[in-house]
Symmetry: C2
Subunit: 210 residues, 2 copies
DNA sequence: CACCGATCTAAACGACGTCAAGATAATCTT
DNA sequence: AAGATTATCTTGACGTCGTTTAGATCGGTG
């Protein structure tokens, strides 16, 4: 089996790595966290994993495919984060806001990973299949459905899910702009700011009045 | 003065271009529209403008500064688009939705430019100054203020503006995913889809009930 | 007219993504 | 167990990129 996850500084590695695919993805995530998306070159990933620049091509068709793998892990992590938030909130009314806050916090805490996730999606003009089957998107839809007491029509449910997703993503992209720092302070912290914006969105006005 | 906007194929250009800054920005926009953001290299821009790869450095500190100039024009174009939409809508209730639709349509019709606009903002962790003074952001705030009859507190007004902006941006980024194509058809077109989502956002529930 | 600063070119550097050839090791066949 | 096959990794190369340095060219000022 594979030894430790190994960086370039380790002792001599056997000629065959053992599990280079995995090591490359982990190296990529390490670079993303420490140096940001701009530093994420294929060569840098290979360097970090301690292999030659051409080695990754035996495991991924090209750079894009490696990033796809990274993005896949990102979506899985987001799924998990939303799942936790959903489980914690007891009140159905509050659960939706918690979900939104959790989404934005994930993006804030993993900005580079979040960027890669959407960059990959854009290249394929589609959100990952992963989301369709019990992924993050479904969690949002289920939470909304639950909140509406199951009375929402499929169309309304889908529209509400899209609306919520867009609001979350939009806020996730805005939250890092320092423009809003004074406002965050005035409201007593970032999470309070998030909750205030979500409240203003009143994303479920239509469902509530039904 | 400057001759025609000139591509690489034109007849011999004088050694000094005349207005290379402008020509470079225009060349960049041309490349963005025809070949997309991935093809937008400094060298390609210089090629398109018919100058050497080093020429741009006498007008812009680096590639980022050229993109800043492109982004600046993008924000101006967005301002104009929102201004038009705002002027057309007579009903105060409808005006807000029209503004949102216009925003998303701008992003859909100028996807590469829209991307450059936000990429530049991210590099500076701030939306452009441009927006602060009668720019797009102010137009949204003014429209919201107008709608609330001027009764909204400054805090509520700011939060509502942020909420609306996030919703618009989020929807703008999602609209291109083909995931939602069936839904668009079901609703009878893309604009109908946009309006439906905006309606579901009920972005002004809080202001309306006041 | 001579000069000077602004503008452009030519040539080079290192880093990048990618590919073709060859080396090495694990696995399969007999 | 020995040889053949296949998967994996390295070396070296190609073209492109952003950027810098040195030199060529030109417009305007004395």
């Amino acid at each position: 089996m594979s030894e430790m996850t190994q960086t370039a500084s380790s002792e001599a590695r056997p000629y065959h790595h053992g599990d280079l695919s995995r090591a490359l993805v982990e190296a990529a995530r390490r670079i993303l966290e420490t140096e940001g998306p701009a530093a994420l070159s294929l060569r840098a990933v290979a360097r970090e994993a301690g292999v030659s620049p051409a080695a990754p091509y035996h495991h991924f068709k090209d750079k894009g495919e490696l990033l796809d793998a990274v993005a896949h892990e990102g979506w899985a992590a987001l799924d998990a984060a939303l799942g936790e938030a959903r489980a914690k909130a007891v009140d159905s009314k509050e659960r939706m806001t918690s979900l939104g806050v959790a989404y934005v916090c994930f993006a804030r805490d993993n900005p580079a990973l979040y960027r890669v996730m959407y960059d990959c999606s854009r290249d394929k003009d589609a959100l990952p299949e992963q989301m369709k089957e019990e992924g993050a998107y479904c969690q949002v839809r289920n939470t909304i459905d639950e909140r509406s007491g199951g009375t929402a029509t499929p169309l309304d449910l889908e529209l509400a899910t899209i609306a919520a997703w867009c609001a979350g993503h939009g806020l996730a992209e805005m939250i890092s702009f320092k423009q809003f720092d004074p406002l965050k302070e005035a409201l007593g912290g970032e999470e309070a700011f998030l909750r205030a914006v979500f409240e203003h969105l009143g994303m479920f006005a239509k469902l509530d009045q039904a």
